[in-house]
């Protein structure tokens, strides 16, 4: 009988580059930068890593196929390496591969690294791309903001709330993200903004304005994972941080082709969240978690996810957001590192970046943005669009918490 992954895998070390427009840095150098921080943090030698998982999403825009670019960049000694891709959930997927290999007992120490070099396209936003030869015959060539903007129209209609009220809550989320990132030296967008700035910004995809959209960034993040026993042996006396849950849910086309989904929530986030809570033994997420990093690619995505993950009651997120529940001083801080919105969103790295922040917060190493005490935290990493996506949810905490 399968027993899940709870407390079977420990995070030994993590690294994360500064995210941003890294014009002078290639993907190879980003990988080395993240890896060097992680290996130093883990206190091991590179040759102790037995296998590696590389996450990169738009490989055609940067490093190309296979895990070869990772092996080359780090000169890994011909160990097993695998490239994974699950859209914007790629980073968590890389960790999942690595963690499950450790949990299975196949390896003692493995590496999960996510990287994305997005700023080589020549234009803002994510690169345009084919949806596959059959889909291109009928599927609209939509953008990410356009697809996520759908949530807002459907949410406002479903809950019978004024779009102006929803937009105010969305603006509050973006202002909060900028405030949080201002305290994070590795964040892409560190300027403070006002609600007025958000509401007056140019429209990208109605009702989303410029400040409702996350940054498109270059960056890399990585984790070195092992068993709790090895972690304790390698770092006697240090806090051991383990994975409580690592769940993925993938849309099967029901949201986009069957009339049950209301268009106003992320169905996979509910599924993955529920499984993760069950695996981690969480029954009251708003009170049992001390923080969460969610996939705030767009302000509206963060808003609906608060309800999908049980942080807000259905239809109540506008009130909770405006009441400051998710601000850094609130009951459940969300995106304390600036989130995708302001830390930035180098796709393959984002899931690992979320876990990096959780890891720092639990260790008490988050600098100016350190929260009082974090025992358990959640990350939610979404790949794709609200109607067709991959949702990865992790719960990370102190060993035994």
């Amino acid at each position: 009988m399968a027993s899940g992954i709870r407390d079977k895998v420990a995070i030994l070390g993590m690294g994360c580059t500064r995210f941003g427009e890294r014009w002078d840095t290639g993907a190879d150098e980003l990988m080395v930068e993240a890896f060097n921080e992680a290996i130093a943090d883990a206190g091991i030698a590179p040759r102790q890593i037995e296998a590696a998982w590389l996450g990169v999403c738009l490989e055609e825009n940067n490093i190309g196929k296979t895990a070869g670019p990772l092996a080359q960049a780090l000169r890994l000694p011909r160990i097993a390496a695998t490239r994974v891709e699950n859209a914007c959930a790629t980073g968590t997927e890389a960790l999942r591969g690595a963690a499950y290999a450790v949990a299975a007992g196949a390896y003692d120490i493995v590496l999960a690294l996510g990287v994305e070099k997005l700023k080589d396209t020549g234009y803002g936003g994510l690169p345009v791309r084919t949806r596959g030869v059959a889909n291109d015959l009928w599927l609209p060539n939509s953008t990410a903001p356009g697809a996520f903007a759908q949530l807002a129209s459907a949410y406002a209609a479903k809950h019978k709330v004024a779009m102006a009220d929803l937009k105010r809550a969305m603006a509050h989320i973006s202002v909060k993200s900028h405030d949080n990132a201002a305290l994070n030296p590795k964040a892409h967008l560190r300027n403070k903004i006002t609600e007025d700035d958000v509401l007056k910004a140019m429209t990208i995809a109605a009702p989303l304005g410029l400040y409702d959209c996350s940054g498109v960034s270059d960056g890399a993040a990585c984790a070195i994972v092992t068993t709790p026993e090895i972690a304790r042996a390698l770092k006697p006396g240090a806090e051991v941080i383990t994975i409580k849950a690592l769940e993925v849910s993938v849309s099967n086309g029901e949201e986009m082709s069957f009339q049950q989904w209301d268009g106003a929530h992320i169905a996979t986030a509910r599924t993955a969240g529920a499984r993760a809570y069950a695996a981690a033994g969480i029954t009251d997420p708003r009170n049992q978690l001390q923080m969460a990093e969610v996939h705030d690619c767009f302000s509206i995505a963060e808003a609906v996810t608060m309800e999908d993950l049980g942080f807000s009651a259905p239809g109540r997120v506008i009130h909770d957001v405006l009441d400051g529940v998710f601000d850094r001083g609130g009951a459940l801080p969300i995106g304390i590192d600036g989130g995708l919105k302001c830390f930035g969103h180098p796709i393959g790295a984002s899931g690992l970046r979320m876990i990096y922040e959780v890891y720092l917060q639990i260790h008490g190493r988050a600098g100016e943005r350190q929260l009082p005490r974090v025992d358990r935290a959640l990350t939610e990493n979404l790949g794709g669009h609200p109607h067709q996506n991959v949702c990865a949810v992790s719960i990370i905490g102190r060993h035994g918490a």
Binding site: L137, Q150, A157, M256, S257
Partner: protein, 486 residues
């Protein structure tokens, strides 16, 4: 059927106009500096095809209007007539046939090359013996006149169509005469965009007043009909005062001239005689004689008699005023604007996939599950209903005529489209499918959750690198009189 001289008649006619109507005053405003002489033509509006409309899509809409007018009729032959067919080598009528679901065994053909070709086809269909296959004749034009030319002012984009067959006919055949003459009043070499024309006075005197008048006289004589008995005269010359002169010379009453709608639509080229015939039929009393002319490389003259059967189907609405001449230039590819790198996306079509999934894109064909009744698009082996999941139970179900509603929507300023912003959203069909779709002809701020939608056949994308275009269905708001094309 017992009368060996019996011929088929007209079962229905229709006129399709694109929604956008370009204000001629705005055209003049751009050209006045170098072509002040256009002032005399710069009255009212002309129709312009949207960026995603061409002769094929307008023909599809025309065919759908006729199918709605006469849902009882099965088409055995389809002819698409146009001088602006998008493909020089690919059966354009076959694209139309696929979109409207004409049977595989139907005879389908393109007809091209001059302004009288569509009327010649109509006459040919009417002259066949009774019992012949029902013919769907579609004429569509989207001509592109050189900027600041008189033609740019005179022409319009649009389509007209006719159903010819046996049964409850709205008009019956009386006589037809045709004359070919290589009098080149204008021409357009294959592959060229613009026409080149000769002096109008010569076209009038040597062309219309001799060739057209002569052919029309022969047609009347063939039926032993006096010109004075003509109740409606469809004379489609786009030149000023020519129609009046022809009527006068023939002896047809000036009041019988069918209005050409120049000030609201423009001249529809090959579709113009059929468009004006549609107007004439709707105005005609039972028994009225209708004389139709089409001029170009000769002349065709067709004489019809109106029956007492009411004309089925609706007429176009007033459309929507468009004041951006620059937009028209861009739609017609006559000015290259900076669309940014997002427009560089390669829209290559995998022709194998296009054929494999042909019904999907052509007829908007999804599947209906025989087990649970769920309609889904696209059709797949496994039913999308999570309570069902039955395999290989779906039978073809077309959504092209289905009504739907907006579940969610956005107006996207980031995505590339030739007419920003890009409007798309989730569309829920009353029949039970959900499809992420592009919206067509939706105005800024018009989209709302729950809004009623109908489907229209449009160009999805151009592959400019290879000279290809792919078509698909888009959702358009159902307005109060949407059937009238407003």
């Amino acid at each position: 059927m017992s009368d060996p001289t019996a011929t088929p008649g007209l079962l229905a006619t229709t006129l399709y106009l694109p929604r956008l109507r370009l204000e001629r005053a705005e055209m003049l405003a751009q050209h006045r500096w170098m072509a002040p002489g256009l002032r005399g033509l710069a009255k009212g509006q002309r129709t312009i095809a949207h960026w995603d409309e061409d002769s094929v899509t307008m023909a599809v809409e025309t065919a759908r209007q006729l199918a709605r007018a006469r849902p009882d009729v099965t088409v055995g032959e389809l002819t698409l007539a146009s001088t602006t067919l998008p493909f020089a080598d690919r059966l354009n009528a076959g694209i139309v046939a696929g979109a409207v679901g004409i049977a595989e065994g139907a005879v389908v053909r393109d007809v091209a090359s001059c302004a009288r070709a569509a009327l010649a086809e109509l006459a040919a269909a009417l002259r066949r013996p009774a019992g012949s296959a029902t013919t769907l004749l579609l004429a569509a034009e989207r001509r592109i006149a050189r900027p600041a030319s008189a033609q740019e002012m005179i022409q319009g984009d649009g389509a007209a169509g006719a159903l010819v067959g046996d049964g409850a006919t709205i008009a019956e055949f009386v006589a037809h005469r045709s004359r070919h003459a290589d009098l080149v009043d204008h021409f357009r070499e294959s592959g060229q965009v613009h026409d080149y024309g000769w002096e109008e006075r010569w076209v009038r005197d040597e062309g219309y007043m001799k060739i057209a008048v002569g052919t029309l006289q022969e047609c009347l004589a063939a039926a032993s009909i006096s010109a004075g008995d003509i109740a409606h005269f469809v004379m489609p010359a786009p030149l000023a005062r020519v129609n009046e002169a022809v009527a006068k010379k023939l002896g047809v009453a000036a009041a019988a001239l069918v209005p050409a709608a120049h000030e609201t639509i423009g001249d529809l080229g090959m579709a113009q005689p059929l468009a004006m015939l549609d107007v004439a039929l709707r105005a005609a009393q039972p028994g009225a004689l209708i004389l139709v002319a089409a001029f170009g490389s000769g002349c065709d003259a067709l004489l019809l008699r109106r029956t007492a059967v009411p004309c089925p189907g609706a007429v176009p609405g007033p459309g929507k005023s468009e004041t951006s001449y620059l937009k028209y230039l861009s739609f017609t590819g006559q000015i290259e604007l900076e669309w940014g790198m997002r427009a560089e996306m390669d829209n290559k079509t995998a022709l194998t996939a296009a054929w494999r999934d042909h019904a999907r894109a052509a007829r908007f064909e999804g599947g209906k599950c025989g087990s649970c009744g769920t309609v889904q698009f696209p059709s797949t082996d496994v039913c999308v209903n999570p309570e069902c999941r039955a395999q290989k139970t779906q039978t073809p179900f077309s959504l092209s005529e289905a009504r739907a509603r907006v579940l969610s929507h956005t107006t996207d300023f980031l995505a590339y489209t030739p007419h920003p912003p890009f409007q798309f959203g989730h569309v829920d069909f009353d029949a039970g499918a959900r499809v992420l779709m592009e919206f067509a002809d939706a105005d800024a701020g018009e989209l709302e959750v729950g809004m009623a939608l109908a489907m229209v056949y449009r160009i999805k994308e151009f592959d400019r690198q290879r000279g290809f275009r792919r078509y698909f269905w888009k959702a358009t708001p159902v307005r109060d009189n949407a059937q009238q094309g407003t």
